[in-house]
Amino acid sequence: MAAAAELSLLEKSLGLSKGNKYSAQGERQTPVLQTNNGPSLTGLTTIAAHLVKQANKEYLLGSTAEEKAIVQQWLEYRVTQIDGHSSKNDIHTLLKDLNSYLEDKVYLTGYNFTLADILLYYGLHRFIVSIIVTGFFSVVFRMIFKTLS
């Protein structure tokens, strides 16, 4: 899913009415948002966090210092690890790590649903539909199922 489409989807789920237009920049096709009252914003997680604030849903960025740091950590994980790797081996390791992390959790921060869950879901979506599904990653699927519902 292209970043622009992903951000539009996020806008919808956040209940933002006015659709923004995004351009893409550079080799990695990093999304750029031109805001009305200021300089443009560049980067998927930066724009996503900006949209969350715009929709007055700051709780999606975490409520405590710990939660906030954890949300940002997984957002970074999304753009550096999930988007950065493409070999089968890397993906396998990545899904295994996530699976093991989520063993005792409902969401990435524990019990609260956050932006990190949304963007990780979007990011993992392409692997999940493109690789053979095994029972091994049950927990990741549980997370995805919850995110969807």
């Binding site: 920049q25 550079g26 990695r28 990093t30 031109q34 300089p39 443009s40 914003l41 560049t42 980067g43 998927l44 997680t45 930066t46 966090a49 900006h50 604030k53 210092a65 710990e66 906030k68 740091a69 954890i70 940002q72 950590q73 970074e76 994980y77 753009v79 550096t80 950065g84 390791t93 295994k96 790590d97 093991s100 992390y101 063993e103």
Partner: protein
């Protein structure tokens, strides 16, 4: 909470700095683990630093840990900070880890390290200087500053990797580095060992995949459409409306050009090409063509400009060439000087003077500088061991010895410099030396020579560099090379040679010696100017009023950045020294190097035989100018760039704009009524024009060419969206709109013709003739986009500017130049050389000749055996052996076998 760190893990720097910045370290327990210990239970791969929180959760991202410390202190992050952190993780980190790995683990240096991060560093610098704030996210320090500083510190703490021209980055980095928490973190992690402290950690890491793995690339960077403020638009509109009125009067042309007080006086030199060779495309782009673009640009700015160059004619290479061709050195110089001058004339190089170094002025000025150095005690005398070829009966100049490089082991190192590692070599240090002419092994003999006492001048040089470099436009490679010479410490350099063809040394006991070319070649600039005007000292002894730009390929930097400045500073005669040293990297040919001996590549005199106009060559060479990194000439790419950028983009736009005026408006520029959209276009064009100026002022020739193409792309888009060919058939309003669009477009074409002038002078003149651009507008380029073709202006006849290059045409050229001219070259040599011994090969001989040679070999073999048996004089034996070897070599060649390498002298 507990922080897990590891010896030399780079992530520890920002984490410790953030911890120190945001809170005391009191509650923080620190544990040191091995670089391969898995601390985080759910991660397969080891990762440090890691923060284990009291809740049991782990933070394994360096930025997240830093962010957590900041959040604990109550500091939230805004969008801009988040953006910097995301950029750091996705763009900076991959580039930086590659650079650190090259530096620390692989021991690479210089551009090999800096190359991968340069783009990122420049991005930071531009962002800082654009928003004009001391910190990344504004007036005050933020998390972004700490995280980026921590990431960059290991690399940038070595000044060699903090390019001085990035001044905003420079001052930002200094500000942060002096803060107490940062200082403490740096001490803890780097332990005063510099970047090497990272080795224990980095060497356990897999090699990062290079983010800019494409070392050789000709692709432009992304174009970003800037946002415009109302003010910028209004200013662009005002400038446009002022039109031709705002052009200053044209400077009258002077002859000779001399500095004028109160004006900007620009003196431009291009490295003097060595006379005994035909320059190849790499030589041409490296100096004369690059300097020409800048000289033409400088004149467009109405700066008082003198551009000079000439052939470097003294030295052994000329003597040898003369021997080969059976001419005197002077005759060789005369012959090749003309060849060079013709080539540059064909390429439309706008020298004010193209001279030569074999003139009385050269002798006078060189001897004067030498005398001054001598009386001031900057010349030493010493005996040196020098290689002498007994067979050729002469001392061998450095470039006439080949052997194995003592530094890197490269097999074909020259006696003065190794082409592989670039280090300067003392010829006697070469392993397995060989005389390049006869391939025999030279002997070491001692002889008296003069030395320039560089160590004694080092301090003056450093002072001068300290004054000159900051704020100047020295290219990064020139800075780097100069700095690394100084870091290694200067040594006395020999400035005399046992030769005849050179500037005589005016000192008793040295009558049979001449100055070494690298002492006097750079003085050639002065003597060439002296031959141009007797008032040459007004250029060369006038540092206050003259801005000296010197263009060259990077191998020439030491002579212009170190040796000549030292001579000039030591001579104490108020010489004008280089203000901006502009060095290019290397241009490769297809996938290899240009090679005269292998006949690979396009040489200056052949370019005109290709049927491709000089301006197309100029365009392509400048488009791929090795600026910042090596680049490659490729025939396919030449075809592509000609057909896409010139034909479809630039040519198409300019032709359409002109055609609309002719076809729809009878050749007269129509009335223009600007809408807000048109005004935005004006502002965009203005912005791009200003970018062009900024880049060319910094001598970033290749990048500035992109601005021209960007403007013409804007123009094409503008025509495409507004469709004047449809509107012209519509209502009154539609027809007026068609007029505005056509008028604006043809004015953009006029602007492009001027911007193009430094790059493609002939095409530029053609466009200006087609549009009948008024004369002052042809020769002056302001920083604003003016309406130079007002309504009612009549244009001339418009015709297409460029021709399509076809695949089969290019394919046959590739065949011809990709080693195809081999026979031709050798034919030429065989014809002109009276001495077969120095020919590397001759055309295949008939059976009779082979038989005759075999007989001669047998005969000569007997002579040698007899002499040896008689225990004859050593020299006599050696001479006969040499004859025998020659004969054997000729025989081998005649039989079509590769010549046998002399035993024990060359190992393959």
């Amino acid at each position: 909470m507990r922080l897990f760190v590891s010896e030399g893990a780079p992530g520890c720097l920002p984490v410790l700095a953030a911890a120190g910045r945001a809170r005391g370290r009191a509650e923080l327990l620190i544990s040191t683990v091995g670089p391969e210990d898995c601390v985080v239970p759910f991660l397969t791969r080891p990762k440090v630093p890691v923060l284990q929180l009291d809740s049991g959760n782990y933070l394994f991202s360096t930025s997240a840990i830093c962010r957590y410390f900041f959040l604990l202190s109550g500091w939230e992050q805004d969008d801009l900070t988040n953006q910097w952190l995301e950029w750091e993780a996705t763009e900076l980190q991959p580039a930086l880890s590659a650079a650190l790995y090259y530096l620390v683990v692989q021991g690479k240096k210089g551009e090999d390290v800096l190359g991968s991060v340069r783009r990122a560093l420049t991005y930071i610098d531009h962002s800082l200087s654009r928003q004009n704030c001391p910190f990344l996210a504004g007036e005050t320090e933020s998390l972004a500053d700490i995280v980026l500083w921590g990431a960059l510190y290991p690399l940038l703490q070595d000044p060699a990797y903090l390019p001085e021209e990035l001044s905003a980055l420079h001052s930002w980095f200094q500000t942060l580095s002096t803060q107490e928490p940062c200082q403490r973190a740096a001490e803890t992690v780097l332990k005063q060992q510099g970047v090497l402290a990272l080795r224990p950690y980095l060497q356990k890491q897999p090699q990062p995949s290079s983010p800019e793995g494409r070392a050789v690339t000709n692709e432009p960077e992304e174009e970003e459409l800037a946002t415009l403020s109302e003010e910028e638009i209004a200013m662009a509109v005002t400038a446009w409306e002022n039109g031709l009125e705002s052009l200053p009067p044209l400077r009258p042309q002077q002859n000779p050009v001399l500095p004028v007080t109160g004006e900007r006086n620009v003196l431009i030199t291009s490295a003097l090409p060595y006379v005994n060779n035909v320059p190849h495309l790499g030589n041409i782009i490296g100096c004369v063509l690059s300097a020409d673009v800048f000289a033409r640009y400088s004149r467009l700015r109405q700066w008082n400009t003198l551009y000079l160059c000439g052939t470097d004619e003294y030295g052994t290479a000329t003597e040898t060439k003369a021997m080969e061709e059976g001419l005197t050195p002077q005759e060789i110089c005369d012959k090749y000087h003309i060849i060079h001058a013709d080539i540059y004339r064909w390429f439309n190089i706008s020298f004010d003077t193209f001279g030569r170094t074999t003139t009385p002025q050269q002798t006078k000025i060189t001897q004067d500088i030498f005398q001054r150095l001598l009386t001031r005690g900057f010349v030493l005398q010493d005996t040196v061991e020098q290689l002498r070829c007994e067979r050729c009966a002469r001392f061998l100049a450095d470039r006439f010895v080949e052997g194995v490089c003592p530094f890197c082991g490269y097999e074909e190192a020259r006696g003065d410099q190794c082409d592989k590692c670039g280090k300067l070599i003392n010829a006697v240090e070469l392993k397995k030396p060989q005389c390049k002419v006869c391939r025999s092994c030279p002997v070491v003999q001692s002889t008296h020579h003069l030395f320039l006492d560089l160590p004694k001048l080092e301090k003056r040089l450093e002072e001068w560099l300290g004054r000159t470099l900051p704020g100047s436009d020295w290219t990064p490679n020139a800075r780097f090379i100069t700095r690394s010479w100084l870091r290694d410490g200067l040594k006395p350099r020999c400035i005399t040679r046992d030769l005849k063809w050179g500037t005589p040394v005016p000192l008793e006991g040295f009558e049979d010696k001449v100055f070494y070319v690298w002492f006097d070649a750079t003085i050639g600039y002065l003597s060439i100017t002296a031959n141009y005007t007797d008032q040459w000292e007004r250029w060369w002894k006038n540092p206050e009023q003259v801005d000296l730009y010197q263009f060259m390929a990077k191998d020439n930097v030491p002579f212009h950045g170190i040796v000549f400045p030292c001579s000039a500073l030591g001579a104490e005669d108020n010489y004008t020294l280089v203000s901006h040293l502009i060095a290019t990297e290397y241009l490769n040919y297809e996938d290899g190097k240009f090679s005269k001996s292998r006949g690979v590549g396009v040489f200056g005199d052949m370019a005109q035989d290709t049927g491709i106009p000089a301006d197309i060559w100029r365009f392509y060479l400048l488009y791929i100018r090795p600026e910042g990194q090596d680049s490659a000439f490729s025939w396919t790419d030449l075809l592509l760039k000609n057909n896409s950028e010139l034909l479809n983009n630039l040519g198409n736009f300019i032709n359409r704009a002109g055609m609309f005026v002719s076809k729809f408006f009878g050749g007269y520029v129509p009335e223009m009524v600007l809408t807000p959209d048109d005004q935005r276009l004006l502002a965009h064009v203005t912005l791009e024009l200003q970018r062009y100026h900024q880049l060319l002022e910094k001598v970033r020739i290749r990048d500035a060419l992109r601005s021209i193409l960007t403007i013409s792309r804007h123009g094409n888009q503008y025509i495409q969206v507004n469709e004047p060919w449809k509107r012209i058939k519509g209502s009154e309003a539609d027809r007026q709109r068609a007029g505005t669009v056509t008028g604006l477009a043809v004015n953009i074409a006029a602007l492009l013709s001027v911007m193009l002038q430094p790059y493609m002078p002939t095409v530029s003149a053609t466009i200006q003739a087609q549009l009948q651009l008024p004369p002052p507008a042809c020769s002056i380029l302001l920083t604003n986009f003016l309406c130079t073709l007002p309504a009612g202006h009549q244009i001339g006849t418009v015709s297409p500017l460029f021709q399509k290059l076809e695949n089969d045409q290019i394919e046959s050229l590739r065949q011809r130049f990709g080693g195809g001219q081999l026979e031709e070259t050798f034919d030429l040599k065989a014809k002109t050389s009276p001495k077969p011994a120095v020919i590397e090969t001759v055309t295949t001989a008939g059976p009779q000749q082979i038989q005759a040679l075999m007989d001669e070999v047998t005969k000569q073999g007997n002579i040698v055996r007899e002499l040896k048996a008689q225990k004859a004089d050593k020299n006599q034996v050696a001479a006969e052996v040499a004859k025998l070897l020659d004969l054997k070599k000729q025989l081998a060649v005649a039989e079509g076998k590769p010549p046998e390498a002399p035993k024990g002298k060359k190992k393959k």
